[in-house]
Assembly symmetry: C2
Homo-oligomer: 154 residues x 2
DNA sequence: TCATTATCTTTAACGTGTTAAATATATAGG
DNA sequence: CCTATATATTTAACACGTTAAAGATAATGA
């Protein structure tokens, strides 16, 4: 059994100690705590990101919304249909540029966001209590630096 | 424009400075650098994770493989079919437990992993050069601590 | 003005994520 | 031995991720 554990440790150091997988695992651990709540409100994680971004920006076109909510264009097209069908958002056209959509929260959408945001904040607090706000801050700083470094030219 | 930038900064501090989104963004930045290479070899990111884990473990059942490769059971079922159809893996049954599968790399699979692993390592090195090995190590440590804290009881 | 090129959004096709349920085999208790 | 329960894997259904391409509108230049 000591031997088996040794082999496992070796394999972990190879695939697990790699940035993409470490990021994926950490994210799974986190989302496992949010998903049941989102499911109970009938939204997916991605739909929720879109709603939150809209709540902070009043009016956006699809390109900006996709960028800030971290979803791809094709996914956003489907999400917009779903959210519009539930009357959580309004979709119009830009008056000066017929290509652009103008997307905003409906009144129901705003109320929905408030409700879910409260529950989301409560879950985030339990995570903070467990992990430590300082550690979360340090991870966020590291991740921002990492992302910035990857985006820099060359 | 200074005003527009200020608004943007505020919104970023709200949705962007949140653990799930920061993890997602960092991961996207990284995978954008690996995906074209994987696509050129005809494997998805998830299939590649499965192959790598198999390369480090010789023989596994589906449950362990799914856990270590960070894919869900239903996804693994589909991935196994795809990789078996390409003869990159062999799938058998556990001799003492008819429920379990026994999955291992084929000879072609081993060669495939070697080829792709070389290119993958080269890409990882360019990332290391850009980001700094020290920073990567620090992010990995933070993420491991975060994941451990989230998994701890209560 | 007209054709060309660029930009915004959607559609298509296929693979994966997620949840629930089905299937098959093992194990435990009576 | 037989039934009930647990475990391993697959299937189903629906949403998103990813790439490529199509459709629609703007901007550009001859």
């Amino acid at each position: 059994m000591a031997e088996a554990r040794k082999n496992e440790a070796v394999s972990l150091s190879r695939t697990r100690r790699t940035l993409p997988i470490a990021l994926l695992r950490a994210r799974e651990q986190l989302m496992d705590r949010f998903r049941p709540m989102l499911l109970s409100h009938g939204v997916t994680e991605q739909q929720w990101r879109v709603l939150r971004v809209l709540n902070e920006n009043a009016e956006m076109d699809a390109t900006d919304l996709a960028e800030k909510a971290c979803v791809l264009g094709p996914s956003l097209s489907r999400i917009i249909k779903a959210l519009e069908a539930r009357a959580l958002i309004h979709v119009g056209k830009h008056p000066k540029d017929g290509r652009r959509a103008v997307i905003k929260l409906s009144h129901e959408g705003q109320q929905f966001v408030e409700t879910v945001a409260r529950e989301s904040a409560a879950i985030y607090k339990t995570i903070e209590a467990k992990v430590g706000a300082d550690r979360i801050g340090s991870v966020l700083n590291d991740l921002e630096e990492l992302t910035a470094a990857l985006q820099s030219p060359d």
